[in-house]
Amino acid sequence: MAIAQTPAELTALQPKPVDADAPRLEFRVFKGIPGGEQGDQAYSVPYVTGMVVLDAIHHIQRNLDTDLACRWNCKAAKCGSCSAEINGKPALMCKTRVDDLAEGAITVHPMKAFPLIKDLVTDVSGNYAVDASIPGFQAAPDDGAPWRIPERDLERLYEFRKCIECFLCQDVCHVLRTHNLHERFYGPRYFVRTAYLEMHPKDVVDRTEQTRQEGGIGYCNVTKCCTEVCPEHIHITDNAIIPLKERIGDRHWDPVRWVGRRLRGSPTVGANGASPARPAS
């Protein structure tokens, strides 16, 4: 069998260099810092077959503008770092192919629902604060692994765990984006998180009352904008938010439970695993 010996053979696996005569694409990328100069900067980028928007941003950083700031990590739509608004639509830059965009200049802007830091990077730390405020998973202390859980009891949970925390759902949600209710509303990502915890057969904490009050789930009027932008195709509204709303409806407005709460004086804690409001179907 022939084995590579020469440098030319050794480089046979290399990608082909960019064609100097390649057609060019026009990009308008937001640049600026809060309180400083802000606006769209125009860049001309050579087209490469199959390229995604993040490829263009990297080309700009390398060759045209070394201080253009963006977040990215895996470049494979698995980490959710490179969220932006491309031609006005919230999307991952690593997953948006330029071939799929309309003719003409491509605009790339930072997510609008979060405070700007610089260029395409926004301050998403508020999301992590919400996460920390939601009680974590907790199994009963005497319920030791290994666990035997039939897959059918977990079937609806797998979808929630696909979330890559790109925060595009938070960005598009009008409660946050338009009404700025970040202090009173968890946002879609954290209803997905809560739904996972609430529906897990081994978790024993009840978060429904917190989701109603601090989470402000009532503000959501199920327009499904979040579901539309989710790069993981999670049915956020149908499978997370609506079941949570129903659960809260059952618990909070159930007259027997209402009286029970009054008598006990304990508004939030109950045994979730023992008596689910909805049968696990």
Partner: protein, 599 residues
């Protein structure tokens, strides 16, 4: 003082927030230490999310014949016996508990028919051993550890900070200095112990599955502080990365595709793995499969874009969508390929680094007192080649051990140590010079230096190496080191990626030099090291590990003897080799399992 800086005092700092860092932080905090986690990215974005196939642990849920001793033997044989046997022993024993612990922390796994954690086949694992959830097990692991860490008292996380130098107090570590990426402000951590959990270094290669973070910072910082780098020549090419379109080249295609029964073909329709490894076929170890694809392409039997075909159509569309959902999505979105209807095109891509900072097996302590290393940044567990599924286990087992040992050390040391102002000033000057426009005449662009390094490493220190090619790579590195002295970028310190890249380039040059110098010394082919001028294994070379250490003259490489495996453990390896020679343990084809399930 060159510039003002913020000082944070604590017991333990953890550099990196992937699985190893988060597991270490939980252990240190549970031991009562004020623990600070520092990450270059946002929480939950670390490279752990890219681990797809699963976590190898001898749970024996899918095959009662499995046991930690078999996992031990598989890992030693996969590493071509250059592994540190004690690390492998601890790993194979403890990873079982770490998997169940994840489940108790809220992690989700696919289940067997009777409700236990399901396990899948993977390359060179004798039994079905990988606990998994579809093909996104790494995401599940990091999210579970993230949730645990967020809700563990005593852990503070600093997102989007970069640490650029370890500070020392005599021969001991006393903390680290770095900057906040978002505003460029300097930060000094004064800490009793430092845990490096900063991952590997694939970014010095052109075709890589690594994110921008894989620049080897942790290993470079440790080396500069006096730690030893072990087995640096061993860089893993994952056999299956995407080869097309150009922007997607190098993106990982999980080994789970083959674990679930995917088959490899050349352009003539030949199932070439039958020839290269008739027994394990597509599920041979990664070094073997990567070389086989490379050889097929070299022989003119490659696909149109220079790879091999990976085919899962025979498994059925529904099964593929359940078990490999992110592969379906990735090929659909990036390459317009429906993998349930068409074969994928794949080729080798840089994936993992077996080498790293040399550590004590029990404690993950490095040669520098107070400095610990766990996960991919550490060396020793994987030897010359890592088996798939052994990295997610590695980070949990040794992350926990590092956290516990560092906590004990920090507590024994008492209050946070003093920091030498001179060290802080020197590092500030080194970082700020890149923004100084005085050197504009000879200014070098860090991105272009990085590209030149990637070219040199890919061409001359890649999958196939010779003494001549490695010496060319070394000459290129030496030249780039000189040019890197003049790295200059425009802009200010506020979130300036060009400025950040300057420090990354320095780290990558140090690590590249270690890779090349060790690869020159290892005059044999073993595991991921494929020397065209020494195509066979050598008994003599098999008895040594190479260490790269810093001395006054620069980098020096020396050989140390491989620690002999104790007799009772060596027996497990012999048993396993015998079984393999007699072919009494067939790797069960996925199709048969599917039939059994009635799928």
């Amino acid at each position: 003082m060159v510039e003002p800086y913020e000082t944070i005092e604590c017991d333990v700092i953890v550099v990196g927030a992937g699985g190893a860092g988060l597991r270490a932080a939980v252990a240190a905090a549970e031991a009562g230490c004020d623990t600070h986690v520092i990450t270059k990215s946002l929480l939950g974005k670390a490279h752990t999310v890219m681990a797809e196939g699963g976590i190898a642990a001898a749970l024996a849920n899918t095959d009662p014949r499995d046991a930690w001793t078999v996992h031990f033997a598989d890992t030693m044989l996969g590493g071509q016996l250059l592994n540190n046997w004690r690390m492998v022993e601890l790993y194979a024993q403890e990873v079982i508990d770490r998997v169940y612990e994840l489940e108790r922390w809220g992690g989700l796994f696919d289940r067997t028919a009777d409700g236990l954690i399901n396990q899948r086949a993977f390359g060179a694992h004798t039994y079905w051993r990988l606990a998994h959830v579809g093909d996104r097990t790494g995401l599940e692991l990091i999210r579970t550890c993230q949730d645990k860490a967020v809700h563990t008292p005593g852990i503070t996380t600093h997102m989007e900070y970069t640490l650029t130098r370890l500070l020392t107090d005599g021969d001991r570590v006393s903390g680290a200095i770095g900057y906040r990426r978002n505003d460029g402000g300097f930060v000094v951590f004064r800490a009793g112990a430092v845990i490096l959990a900063s991952g590997g270094w694939g970014r010095m290669y052109k075709c890589t599955s690594n994110s921008w973070e894989g620049t080897g910072d942790g290993a470079a910082l440790a080396y500069e502080a006096g730690a030893e780098l072990l087995d640096m020549e061993f860089v893993q090419f994952h056999p299956t990365g995407m080869v097309w379109p150009p922007g997607a080249r190098g993106i990982l295609v999980t080994e789970a595709v083959r674990g679930e029964g995917g088959l490899l073909f050349n352009s003539e329709g030949g199932r070439f793995m039958l020839e290269y490894d008739p027994q394990k076929k597509e599920l041979s170890s990664r070094d073997v499969v990567a070389r086989s694809i490379y050889k097929e392409v070299q022989a003119g039997r490659g696909t149109p874009h220079g790879g091999a075909y990976l085919d899962v159509r025979h498994l059925g569309a529904e099964y593929v969508r359940k078990k490999l959902p992110s592969m379906v999505e990735q090929f659909h979105a990036l390459a317009s390929v429906d993998i349930t209807k068409e074969p994928m095109e794949v080729g080798p891509t840089i994936h993992y680094t077996m080498g790293g900072v040399r550590v004590e097996p029990e404690t993950a302590a490095t040669a520098v007192p107070g400095l610990y290393a766990a996960g991919e940044v550490a060396g020793g567990l994987h030897g010359a080649n890592r088996l798939g599924g052994n990295s997610l286990g590695d980070i949990l087992v040794f992350g926990k051990r590092a956290g516990e040992a560092a906590a004990e050390y920090a507590k024994s040391r008492g209050s946070a140590p003093a920091v030498a102002e001179a060290q802080v000033e020197a590092e500030q000057r080194a970082l700020l010079r890149h923004l100084d426009s005085d050197g504009a005449a000879a200014a070098e662009n860090p991105y272009l230096i990085h590209e030149a390094l990637q070219d040199a490493m890919q061409d001359d220190a890649g999958i196939a190496r010779t003494e001549a090619s490695l010496k060319r790579a070394l000459a290129a590195i030496e030249e780039l080191k000189l040019r890197a002295r003049n790295l200059r970028v425009k802009g200010a310190r506020v979130l300036n990626p060009g400025w950040h890249t300057c420090r990354d380039v320095d780290n990558m040059l140090v690590i590249s030099e270690a890779i090349v110098r060790c690869a020159i010394e290892r005059r044999e082919s073993r595991g991921s090291q494929w020397r065209l001028d020494f195509p066979d294994k050598s008994d003599e070379q098999g008895r040594v590990n190479y260490l790269a250490v810093r001395d006054a003259a620069g980098m020096r490489v020396r050989a140390i003897p491989v620690e002999p495996v104790p007799a009772h453990l060596a027996a497990h390896i012999r048993d396993e080799e015998e079984l393999r020679a007699r072919s009494v343990i067939p790797i069960r084809p996925a199709a048969r399992e599917l039939a059994a399930r009635g799928a």
